[in-house]
Amino acid sequence: MAQSLAKEFTKGLWAEIPPFRLVLGLCPVLAVTKSVENGIGMGVATTFVLVFSNLLISLLRNVIPSKVRIACYIVIIATFVTIVELVMQAYTYELFLKLGIFIPLIVVNCIVLGRAEAFASKNGPVLSVADGLGIGLGFTLSLAALGAVREFLGNGTLTIWEGLPVFEMGAGFLPFKFMIEAPGAFVGLGLMLCLMNLIGKK
């Protein structure tokens, strides 16, 4: 039991890490990774939704009729997204403004629906939570990594919390503005994917 738990948890961190191994849910990845801070915020919000929707869906997996299952999953996911939205609006208002419409758009993030359909609908609640946590953590790490690359090259800083940079390049550093603009997101993700392929060749 403990072994399979660990397996489901760790697969999200490398073997099936989104969005590199599972090329799903690209929109938030490209849009919010202008800085590490935004990336982590988005990742944590998605993880919360993933864990709780996985839990509820796996508890209800024998109750939900298979013909209308997708609609049921979407309603469950949308409920948790609304919770995240309201909580973020109340406690982390600045981040809420920065992420904008990408918070309600977690509903249509294919990763969440994908895990519900591929995993939570077939497995027990404990395993499903482990799966959600693993995939969510992997997603957060990917977002933070891409955010770090883009923020470092495009702005010369690394920010983890509340706009206070933990690291700043000297005044002589010429920021590579391209990286925090739209094209930099595509190119940055494409090259990181290439790097992952180089390291982890099957």
Partner: protein, 191 residues
Amino acid sequence: MGDLFVLAISCIFINNILLAQFLGNCPFLGTSKKMETAVGMAMAVVFVLVLAGLITWVLDIYLLKAFNLEYLRTVSFILVIASLVQFVEMFLKKSIPGLYAGLGIFLPLITTNCAVMGVCLINIKEEYTFVEAAVSSFAYAVGFGLALILFAGVRERINLARVPKPLQDTSIGLVTAGIIALTFMSFKGMV
């Protein structure tokens, strides 16, 4: 009238939904390997996006805002879009089989296309009037189709090129998309 034209141009080119706002990227990469699928997806999106944009606008103004139910926006929008897609699918199957055969498999995919939900939310956030919402929905959808078809054209040529192994498939696709996004950036400052 002039304002609406400016709005349309800015939605198609400057704030292109795929390349500047990053919405709908999963179908962008998924259906752009062949020109045919790209055209099918683009048409399906235009069709559904305009309908969804108008219906969610009416829903938001006359139901959610009127009864102070804004917190139900996410849930109700996704339900409307999902059922709209189902309904459109059934309607086309029965009355316009030719169009259904063309759009067929792309329709159900649109439910999880965040471009649709995204544009509906943008329409509300920018507080557009009904006509503006209609124009912006249509223009965003046209921008989606334009970028998707351009990208599919480029990708068909890439298939003929010799790409280094680690860069193959999605990786080179993303880098190409980045270069196309760069060209779209030059539209900035046009309006």
